[in-house]
Symmetry: C2
Subunit: 127 residues, 2 copies
Amino acid sequence: MIGIILVSHSQKITDGIKEMIEEMIGESPNVEVISCGGTGDGRLGTNSLMILDSINYLANASHILIFGDIGSAILCAETAIDLIDDPNLSGKVTLVDSPLVEGAFAAAVQASVNCTKEEILKEVSSI
Amino acid sequence: MIGIILVSHSQKITDGIKEMIEEMIGESPNVEVISCGGTGDGRLGTNSLMILDSINYLANASHILIFGDIGSAILCAETAIDLIDDPNLSGKVTLVDSPLVEGAFAAAVQASVNCTKEEILKEVSSI
């Protein structure tokens, strides 16, 4: 299973992407998407500890792909990755250099049909 | 004034982008952002007539920039542009080839400091 974590200052944006993905691929055992936008208490902003919790929640995934939108969302995801205790877990995590909506959507569709991490990243890089 | 229209299958996504932009730039006489995601009746999907209404609403803008995310959102925006009656208005409209969140955010920030359309599109193309 591939884990996908969506990071933005806006929870509406990440909730919307998760809904759009789930409408497209339905329930899939191959992919789990976590909406991790906003501060966690309803405000615009980001929260590294919330992202870290999402990473830990996905510890059983074969790979964890993180997608962010603008600068500080990316920085916050990097901080979360730095905070991972377990080197086995941190080795599974990739902060993907792609547009948030378009990249996460393409990755989830690829993951749902059981593509490898390399195939997913190749597809995403073509966006 | 530059008009920016956000198109996605998800209204949550476009509402979230509009909120994020307004948090960043505040009230600006130089830019007006319209969230035009979803079908207009709460479902996931797109609606060319709703996009056309947004274009007509922004008829007094100096330029109207439309940002969409995945394929059919782009197609729906193209259909809306084809449906514009007034050639003066259609000449103001640009469907921007850029990621939705990142492109619209960068464009709005540039527009808020009174950049020209060319300066905005140059900034967006560097994303």
